[in-house]
Amino acid sequence: MPRLDELAGIVRSKNAGPFVLTLDLLFDSQEEYALVKDSGAITASRVASLYGVDESDVLLQHFDSACGIKISMPRLVSSGHARDTDVYGAQQHAPLLGIEIAVPSGGHS
């Protein structure tokens, strides 16, 4: 099964304001986007378990015209807080990279 990092063109994280982390998965083609979207591998509950947050704290949206999936969740602590490890929130994407995407037979080669 291909991994997300083999199918996505961009996997990035960033602050959305000082209290929220947002992750964007962007695909170079409609086909790759549809493959990942339709596989059902990327869900709020999967993301919640990967990041150890409550599922109710995860907002997951499909943005078809951008071939993108957006995931937002609270930061562990606010940006720049004494205990923060990532002020820009720019390096919080790695847990997503290895998600395996089930491909329908005859699909992705």
């Binding site: 959305a16 304001g17 964007d24 962007l26 951008a66 071939c67 940006s79 807080h81 490890t85 847990p95």
Partner: protein, 450 residues
């Protein structure tokens, strides 16, 4: 109808002079540039410092000022000084004054402040007009009082007013990035959905263009669409990047909460015209009542001292969490010995190579062959932070651990002196919305002649 020009992602990040010259061949309706962000964290608002150098900011400002005055088109700068606070506005104003003297340029400049007084905010809080955004702690009169600085994010209205009163240049305090670019188009009758969506895309300069580097971007706004183009002929724009930028740095992919309304881009269409141009239409803008703007504020959390070290000892690396936990206990004991109950401090042992980046959200378990360690102490005074860090460093260097063979020292310090005192530490305590009776309420406008 309107040609909007965005100079660069942030005033001071630079742009090629040739891009500006190309853009001026058919002069834009206005020149705009965003100068601020909360991205670099709470320190800059706390201490009122810019996060770009004065020299780079002056270079960009000089080029834009000359272009604007030469072509008699307005120049709008938002979130001056990086934070849009009063010191930020004054910092940029002083740079502009200096350029005006050096280059013998004379013009009318509007200064719009965005740092409302605490009395005013206190009254709004008592009225129940202030509400927390996701994740922010509730606002209390105490928090309001303890904040080092609080800014409000203006919408387009104060900028429009300043321009209608004859300002050639507008230096605005904290301002919605999109509002800064929507102000002129809205005044010229461009529909709100087009003006706000274009504003959102171009506020980052040529971030959507490839190859990527700090550069200018132009949006041609019409009544039912806008077209994006980079004045640098070497740059292309792909529709996917434009679409992706719509959802950049917002929690919600489609909905953008702005002063006075919500931009909904869920039905937006992005069309590739050619290699260099993308056409966008189809977003909607819904006006909301009451008129609401965002507040941002920070509070001082203390003073910090840090040290950087590494270990190459496999036995220590194998038990590093337990080792550091035991040191923390010993440190607490020593600190209370010295300071009794006065030391309200925080120590962090940041292990790079093991959860240093993701902290408790890390999922990997493998141990590295060497480990970087940053010890940081935040305490109520700089002296106390320095002293407690020295204690923590000595403990980390010389404490025993099971199986220890390296009894001359557990850590490699790359520097002497090993300890670095940093600037004060701040923390975001205000990330709220406030309902206003009118869009000018918190944003006094002053027009001066230079």
């Amino acid at each position: 109808m309107v040609r909007a020009f965005s100079a660069t992602g942030n005033l001071g990040y630079g742009f090629p002079t040739t891009s500006l010259e190309n853009a001026l061949v058919e002069p834009p309706t206005f020149l705009g540039v965003d100068a601020g962000s909360t991205d670099p964290g709470p320190y800059y608002l706390g201490d009122g410092k810019a996060f770009v150098s004065r020299a780079s900011c002056k270079r960009d400002t000089r080029l834009l000022l000359r272009a604007a005055l030469q072509h008699s088109i307005p120049l709008v700068i938002g979130s001056a000084g990086g934070t849009g606070s009063n010191v930020g506005v004054d910092w940029l104003f002083e740079i502009i004054e200096e350029i005006s003297r050096e280059d013998d340029l004379h013009f009318r400049i509007a200064v719009i402040r965005a740092e409302p007084g605490r009395d005013k905010l206190g009254a709004l809080l008592r009225q129940g007009s202030i509400h927390s955004l996701t994740g922010a702690p509730g606002l209390t009169p105490r928090r309001l009082e303890d904040a080092a600085r609080i800014v409000a994010m203006m919408g387009p209205e104060p900028i429009q007013d300043a321009l209608s009163r004859g300002a050639d240049v507008v230096v605005a305090g904290r301002c919605s990035d999109a509002a800064l670019f929507a102000a002129v188009p809205l005044s010229k009758g461009v529909p709100a959905a087009v003006a706000w969506h274009a504003g959102k895309i171009i506020e980052c300069g040529a971030a959507i263009a490839i190859p990527k580097s700090s550069d200018c971007l132009i949006a041609h706004l019409e009544t039912d669409h806008f077209v994006l183009e980079c004045p640098n002929p070497e740059k292309r724009i792909r529709r996917e990047n434009v679409a992706a930028h719509t959802m950049y740095e917002n929690a919600n992919a489609f909905l953008l909460h702005e002063p006075g309304g919500i931009l909904d881009a869920s039905s937006a269409v992005f069309e590739q015209i050619d290699d260099r141009r993308v056409k966008v239409y189809g977003a909607t803008f819904e006006r909301t009542q009451p008129y609401t703007v965002k507040l941002e504020g920070v509070q001082r959390a203390g003073y910090r001292c840090i040290t950087i070290a590494g270990t190459r000892d496999p036995k220590l690396i194998a038990i590093i969490d337990e080792y550091l936990a035991s040191i923390k206990v010993e440190l607490d004991r020593k600190v209370s010995d010295i300071y009794e109950d006065e030391a309200d401090y925080e120590v962090g042992f940041r292990t790079y190579g093991k959860s240093g980046v993701m902290s408790e959200r890390e999922f990997k378990q493998e141990l590295p062959y060497e480990l970087g360690l940053v010890i940081d102490v935040v305490a109520p005074s700089q002296l106390m932070a320095n002293d407690i860090l020295a204690l923590a460093r000595t403990l980390a260097m010389h404490s025993h651990f099971p199986g220890r063979l390296c009894n001359a020292g557990n850590l490699a310090f790359p520097f002497s002196p090993s300890d670095v005192q940093t600037e004060p530490v701040y923390e975001f305590t205000v990330n709220h919305t406030v309902e206003l009776e009118d869009p000018f309420e918190l944003f006094p406008i002053e027009i001066r002649k230079l």
